[in-house]
């Protein structure tokens, strides 16, 4: 004989729903494959989109080491175009809108790089 039948069954149902909540959230929740970033109007970035999307952080690290340690402050891209190595003065010249470009994607991917404690976001990007 089970006492408090209703409460026990209700409790079991609530427990199961809670335990499986991550699966439901994954199935029906918000899809983070779209981050809603606004691309700048310029036609092309320094390298192709797939490379930049996947590797921009490593590229920035490499740029930093080349510029600061080897004093190579010019990057010659695969297509022969020359770029000054500078996050603040080169990347941010096209990617002006910090909130709609950098921030949106970083937020969706729950990463919080601390570039901007030192580097200055251009005024129009704020």
């Amino acid at each position: 004989m089970l006492y408090n039948k209703k409460a026990v069954y209700l409790g079991i149902v609530i427990l199961v729903v809670l335990l499986t909540a991550p699966f439901w959230a994954g199935l029906f929740g918000q899809n983070y494959t779209k981050t809603g970033v606004t691309k700048p109007n310029e036609e092309a970035c320094i390298e192709n989109v797939e490379f930049m999307r996947a590797q921009h952080m490593r590229l920035l690290n490499e740029w930093r080491d080349e510029a600061l340690r080897n004093e190579n402050r010019t990057y010659i891209a695969k297509d022969g175009k020359k770029w000054e190595i500078s996050l603040q003065n080169t990347c941010m010249r096209c990617h002006k809108n910090y909130d709609d470009f950098c921030a949106k994607c970083h937020l969706s991917n729950s990463v919080s790089p601390y570039c901007w404690t030192c580097h200055i976001i251009p005024v129009e990007g704020k």
């Binding site: 190579n72 010019t74 990057y75 010659i76 200055i120 005024v123």
Partner: protein, 262 residues
């Protein structure tokens, strides 16, 4: 029995060879991957100034008071977003002090009044043997091929070993967020620093890269010379050949790159 042992040894040595060559090739590919990521390549800028060993000669005879140095300090600190923090926790890239403090080895009580009263400009000496570089545990500070002792603030962990190592007090620690003391960045093209890192003069490496002389040199109207110490025809070598010069604390063997004409 013998046959079995023979077989065992064969298999063991073969597998040892396979394993070790596998590890070796894995190591190679890892280091190759580390070497370069970008599909393009890197170069100096077209206008970059080059030297084997950058050095500075300051003609202190041409300066008479703290006001004479004021435009130089302002040029330096404005170019690099250096904040002015009241008290002992200020950030110094280019600053002034007395002869007694700047050149303690050369002090005697009977020096001319002019020398005793005059302030002397101080900055990072960009030593040939920089103690700060030796003590930095993260290689955040390092000596470049052209003699400049540079800093990578990304790597600085704020341990302040370099401040203890530097015999010239040329390094400052960010006890506070420097932006609190910089209402507007004075040079929006140059980064600021953040709380918890050490900073110092960079010999304007970022200006040399675009063909400009350091900010203080430019603001000094020829009273500070800047050039290649290893080029006998450079302005610095000519000035050193024609005048008596001293350096700070030479007995420490750090070989400073900043010379003073007295």
């Amino acid at each position: 029995m013998n046959n079995n042992r023979r077989k065992f040894l064969k298999i063991a040595s073969l597998s040892a060879f396979a394993l070790s060559s596998g590890i070796a090739s894995m190591g190679l590919s890892a280091s190759e991957a580390e070497a370069k990521l970008a599909p393009g390549f890197y170069d100096h800028g077209p206008k970059t100034l080059h030297a084997k060993r950058w050095a500075m000669v300051i003609d202190t005879r041409e300066f008479h008071s703290a006001e004479d140095y004021e435009p130089l300090i302002r040029a330096c600190h404005n170019a690099h977003n250096v904040p002015d923090i009241p008290g002992a926790k200020n950030i110094k890239w280019f600053w002034l002090d007395s002869y007694e403090h700047a050149f303690p080895d050369d002090m005697n009580p009977y020096m001319s009044e002019k020398i005793k009263a005059q302030p002397f400009p101080l900055l990072c000496n960009h030593c040939t043997n920089p103690p700060c570089v030796r003590v930095c545990p993260t290689q955040a500070t390092y000596k470049m091929a052209d003699g400049i002792v540079a800093m990578d603030y990304h790597r600085c962990i704020g341990c302040r070993f370099c401040m203890a190592g530097c015999p010239y007090g040329a390094r400052s620690f960010n006890f506070f967020d420097p932006r609190k003391y910089l209402p507007e960045p004075t040079n929006p093209r140059f980064p600021t620093r953040m709380i918890g890192v050490v900073e110092k003069c960079t010999f304007c490496a970022e200006r040399l890269a675009v063909g400009q002389l350091p900010a203080c040199v430019e603001a000094s109207n020829g009273k500070i010379l800047f050039g290649d110490l290893e080029d006998p025809n450079s302005t610095v070598r000519k000035a050193l050949a024609a005048n008596y010069s001293i350096r700070r604390k030479p007995n420490l063997g750090t070989q400073p790159g900043v010379y003073y004409l007295i």
